[in-house]
Amino acid sequence: MGELLKNSIFFSDQHLCHADILPPSEVRARIEVAVLNFLKNLNSSTPSVADLPLISRKMSNSRVSRGLLIESTKIFLSHSFCTQSLMNENTANSFIRVWKVMEMCYQILGQEKKVTQRELFYKLLCDSPQYFTSQSQVNRTIQDLVALLRCSRYSLGVMASSRGAVAGRLLLQEPNQEVVDCSACGSSGYAISGDLNLLEKLVMKSDARYIIVVEKHAIFQRLAEDRIFNQIPCILITAKGYPDIGTRLLLHRMSREFPELPILGLVDWNPAGLAILCTFKFGSVAMGLEAYRYACNVKWLGLRKDDIEQLILEESLVPLKPRDHQIAKSLGSSEILQVNVPNAMIQDNYKEELAFMIHSGHRAEIEALYFHGYDFLVKYIGKKIVQANYI
C-alpha cells in the first residue's frame, strides 16, 4: 500500500502535512494542548512520559506530488513520524529542548512580540544553559517545534529577515497605506518585508506579461536600472541568493493573482543556481512543512547549455569547485529530478542540463554575457522570451 501511494501520480491530500499560519492566540492554544496531553499521560492510571511525535524531516518521508493536469510538482512531507522520547538516551536532550523552546515561544507570543533566532539563542542560553550550546541546535529545535505543532516558524514568533526586492510593472498597496508603484522604486526596488502577515494582505495590480525571477542582486539592480520593464512588460523579483520565505510567499501570491503570467527564472549556470531555481519551483525538504505552500511553476530561462555554447567565451568559464559538485550530487539524486514518471519532460531536461554542467567541469555567471556589450542582457532576455525558449 505504501509503495502504491509512493508511486501514484494522484496526490491524496490527506497525506500532505503542512504548517499553518496562525495568530498568536491559536499557537498558544496548541502549546496548551500539548502540555495538557503530557500531564494527562503523567496522571493516567498507567503513568508515562508522552513521546513527542514530530513529522519526520528526512528524505525518506518526503514525497513529490506531481500534478496530473497542471504542470506543478511539489515536495511535501507525509505523515511519517519520528518520535522524540525522554526514555531514549539519544533523544532525551532533544526532547527537553523542544519543551524549553515551547515555553519560551509561549512567553514571547504572550507579550505579542517577535524575536530573531539569535535572540532566542541568548534567552535559552541564560535560561537553560545545560541544554543549549549552539545556534544550530536552537535552529533545529525550532524546526522540531514547527514539525510538532504544525504551525509556521513565523507563527511561533520567530522573525526572519527578508532580503527580497520587487521592481517593475506592479502596483502594491499595504493596508491603509498609499499605492506603491514598483516601476518607480529606483534600482533597489521595493523591499519585501519580513512580516508575512503584511505580505498576505498586500493588494496587487499589474499589467505585466511576465514575471522574471532573478538569482543575484547585481543582475536585478542592472535590469531595474536599465528599466527592462519598459521594453518587456514584466515584474522583476529577487531573493538575492537562496530564497527566503517572504520572497517565496510573495511570488506565490503573484502566481495566484496573475495566473496567466509565465514565471521565468534567470540564474547563473552552476549547480547552486539550479538549486535556487528548484527551491522556488518545488520547495525544500529542510523547510518541509512550509515548503510546498509556496511552490510556483518557475521556468528556466537562462543561463542554459545552449547559451553557454553559443554566447559565452571560453575565458569566461570558471572551473567547478568541490562545493558545486556536492550540490550537484544532492540535486541529481533528489526525487524531484527523477525521471521514472510519465510526462516528466521537464525533469528530463533539468537532469540533462545538470549532467552537462558536471561533465564540462565549468560554470559561468550571467555577467559573462556582457562580453557582447552592456545592453546585451536585455536583448538576450527579450529574444528568449519571444522565442519562448524556456523549460
Binding site: 524575536v115 541568548y122 522573525m159 529577515s161 542582486h217 547585481a218 539592480q221 556582457y370 552592456y374
Partner: protein, 361 residues
C-alpha cells in the same frame, strides 16, 4: 531623470579622459615613453603611537607607471581598456558593475582584481569618485525613521511609517530634498538589531533615523550617511557588537577602508560616536555571564591589528582603551544578548539611557 548636477560631472570626467589620452598620445608621437603619476593613498599606517603624519586627504607618495617593464606595460594596457569602456558608459549614460567590466575582456584581464585596481587608478588620475565613472555596485543598506527624501523623482517618505525599512538608494547623487525631524541618526551594525528596533516600534517613541549597512558598510550606504550629515548636521551614533569585528566596522564608518582610501574625503564620518556596546557595559547593564562568549584566536588577532592602527591612539584614545579592555578580558558579547532578560530592553532601557545619559565616546 538625472539631475543637471550629475550630467555636468559626466562631461567633466569625459573631458579629463580626453586630456589624459591626449597627453599619452603626445608622448608617443614625440618618441617619449608615456608616464602616469598615480598618487598613493592610505587610510592609516601601523604606527601605533599615533606620531606619524598620516593625513587622510593627502596622498602619501606617487607611483610612476611607465612602459619600462612588462608588468607595467600590462597594467597600462588594462588601464586604457577599462578607460575606453568607462568612456563609452559615460557617453551613453549607462552603468556597469566592476564584474561586468571584467567580463568584457576576460582573456586580457584574467582576474577581477586587475580590473579593480585599474578602476582605482583611474579614479585617482581623474580625481573623481567611482560613481563618477558610472561604475556602480549593489546597495545593501536599509533606512527607517523620521526622514523624507526624493531620489530620481520618487519620494521616500519614511515619516509616514517610521518603522518600515527602505533600501538605501544606490545613486546617492540623485538624492535631493532631504527633510527630517529627527534628533539624531543611529547606525546599527546588524540587520537583526535593525529588525528588533522595527519590531519594538523604536521610531515611534524616539525621533530618529536608523540605518544599517548589514555588516561592513558598502559605498552607497556610506555616501548616503555622508550626505545626511552634510545636510542635517545631526548627532551620529553607532551601535555595534562588543567584539573586534564590530569595532572594525565602527572604524570603517569613521575612518574609511583601505580599498577606498583615495576617496575617503567623501566617505569617512569624523562625527561618528561609539554608542555601544562597550566591554564596560557588562556590569552596568547586567549582561548575564552566560552570554559572554570567549574570544577566538581570529578575534584576538583582529583586535591586535586594529590596535596597531595609527588613528586609534591619535584620534580615538577612548576607543583604544575599550578595545584593550576587551582583549584583556578575553570575552565578547552581541547586542542580542541584551534581549536575554527582556525583549524590549534594547529599545526601552539601553538605548534611551545611553543617548540621554551622553554615554558615548
Amino acid at each position: 531623470m538625472e539631475g543637471t548636477h550629475s550630467s555636468s560631472h559626466r562631461f567633466d570626467v569625459l573631458k579629463k579622459i580626453g586630456e589624459l589620452t591626449r597627453s599619452i598620445v603626445e608622448d608617443l608621437c614625440n618618441g617619449r615613453s608615456p608616464t602616469l603619476q598615480i598618487d598613493q593613498f592610505s587610510s592609516y599606517c601601523t604606527d601605533a603611537s599615533g606620531n606619524c603624519c598620516c593625513i587622510y586627504d593627502l596622498p602619501k607618495g606617487k607611483e610612476l607607471l611607465m612602459l619600462r617593464r612588462e608588468s607595467q606595460a600590462r597594467r597600462l594596457d588594462v588601464l586604457l581598456r577599462v578607460l575606453l569602456i568607462v568612456q563609452q558608459l559615460l557617453q551613453e549614460n549607462k552603468h556597469c558593475s566592476k564584474r561586468d567590466i571584467y567580463y568584457m575582456h576576460p582573456s586580457v584581464f584574467k582576474e577581477q582584481s586587475v580590473v579593480d585596481r585599474a578602476i582605482n587608478d583611474i579614479c585617482i588620475l581623474l580625481q573623481c569618485s567611482r560613481h563618477n565613472l558610472n561604475v556602480v555596485s549593489v546597495g545593501n543598506g536599509l533606512v527607517m525613521g523620521w526622514l523624507r527624501f526624493a531620489e530620481a523623482g520618487r519620494i521616500f517618505d519614511c515619516i509616514n511609517s517610521p518603522n518600515t525599512a527602505h533600501h538605501i538608494p544606490v545613486h546617492v547623487e540623485d538624492v535631493e530634498d532631504i527633510i527630517s525631524v529627527s534628533e539624531y541618526i543611529l547606525v546599527v551594525e546588524k540587520e537583526s538589531v535593525f529588525q528588533r528596533l522595527a519590531n519594538d516600534q523604536f521610531c515611534r517613541q524616539n525621533r530618529c533615523i536608523v540605518i544599517t549597512g548589514r555588516g561592513y558598510p558598502d559605498v552607497p550606504t556610506r555616501r548616503f550617511l555622508h550626505l545626511l550629515i552634510e545636510t542635517l548636521h545631526l548627532p551620529l551614533y553607532c551601535l555595534v557588537d562588543c567584539d573586534p569585528y564590530g569595532i572594525d566596522i565602527l572604524a570603517t564608518y569613521r575612518f574609511g577602508s583601505m580599498q577606498m582610501s583615495y576617496d575617503s574625503k567623501s566617505l569617512r564620518l569624523p562625527e561618528m560616536r561609539w554608542l555601544g556596546a562597550f566591554p564596560s557595559d557588562c556590569h552596568k547593564y547586567q549582561i548575564p555571564q552566560r552570554c559572554l562568549l570567549p574570544l577566538t584566536a581570529e578575534d584576538k588577532q583582529k583586535a591586535k591589528v586594529i590596535l596597531s592602527r595609527c588613528y586609534m591612539e591619535r584620534e580615538v584614545p577612548y576607543w583604544r582603551s575599550e578595545l584593550q579592555l576587551l582583549l584583556d578580558r578575553g570575552v565578547k558579547f552581541e547586542i542580542e544578548a541584551l534581549s536575554a532578560h527582556s525583549i524590549a530592553f534594547l529599545s526601552e532601557n539601553y538605548l534611551p539611557s545611553k543617548i540621554q545619559g551622553g554615554a558615548y565616546i
